[in-house]
């Protein structure tokens, strides 16, 4: 119940296309859903995050869509660029102290954007 399932494991998109990465969770107590971006040789960095009181959050070309009833959330990258090529991790946690507040990560999606 603590798992976050992420798909696909890898994704190849043409420049200018839309990249879509999906995540699903079981724990209905989760109330914070961040996405992390990791470039080769670097540690992951927070890209964008959403809380379940909204269904969508947009920052530039990056959008999180959230479906509370389906317990799913997804990252959409519009007008994908070669510079977006990275590994993306979804995560979830509860707004709670202690270990319950730790992030649970998906297994990651390696995105390659072809020029």
């Amino acid at each position: 119940q603590q798992q976050v399932k992420q798909s696909p494991q890898s994704l190849i998109v043409q420049k200018g296309g839309i990249s879509i990465i999906n995540c699903a969770y079981e724990n209905t107590a989760f109330d914070y859903f961040p996405w992390y971006q990791q470039f080769p040789g670097k540690g992951p960095a927070l890209l964008i995050a959403i809380r379940p009181d909204v269904s969508e959050k947009k920052e530039g070309r990056f959008t999180i869509s959230f479906n509370k009833s389906a317990k799913q959330f997804s990252l959409h990258i519009m007008d994908s660029q070669p510079g977006d090529s990275a590994t993306y991790f979804c995560a979830a946690s509860v707004r709670s102290g202690g270990s319950q507040g730790n992030l649970i990560f998906g297994k990651g999606t390696k995105l390659s954007v072809k020029p």
């Binding site: 040789g41 670097k42 992951p44 960095a45 707004r95 709670s96 507040g101 297994k107």
Partner: protein
């Protein structure tokens, strides 16, 4: 700008050696974490610490220990390195884990450890 630094980017050790991985953060964060990252397995939590001298096991603590004597420093120790501990190790820090808060987690650049 939060900075999480790790003592080595690449490390090669022999089976049975005791290995120390050091992590330092400069933003007075209370919480610190150690993960290992393996292809297809994502980020797996080894140990975490909520404050100085506090530590708790994560999902895969076997074969590892940690030390947090100062707030800014969190060390991961492999007591007797084995080949199955060859991996990328990532340290992270977070301001706090106070209930009701959503605090961003900041990662270091990682240490690629190879055990021969």
């Amino acid at each position: 700008d939060v900075k999480v630094t790790q003592s080595s980017r690449y490390l090669v050790k022999r089976t049975g050696e005791k290995v120390f991985l050091e992590c330092v953060q400069d933003m007075d964060h209370e919480n610190m974490f150690w993960y290992r990252q393996d292809p297809g397995l994502g980020l797996r939590l080894i140990y975490f610490s909520y404050d100085v001298k506090m530590k708790e096991k994560g999902d895969i603590p076997e074969g590892y220990s940690v030390s947090r004597e100062k707030k800014e420093r969190f060390s991961l120790i492999l007591e007797s390195a084995s080949t199955n501990q060859t991996s990328m190790y990532l340290c992270a820090s977070r301001l706090s884990s106070v209930a009701g808060s959503y605090n961003e987690q900041f990662f270091g650049p990682g240490t690629r450890l190879t055990v021969l």
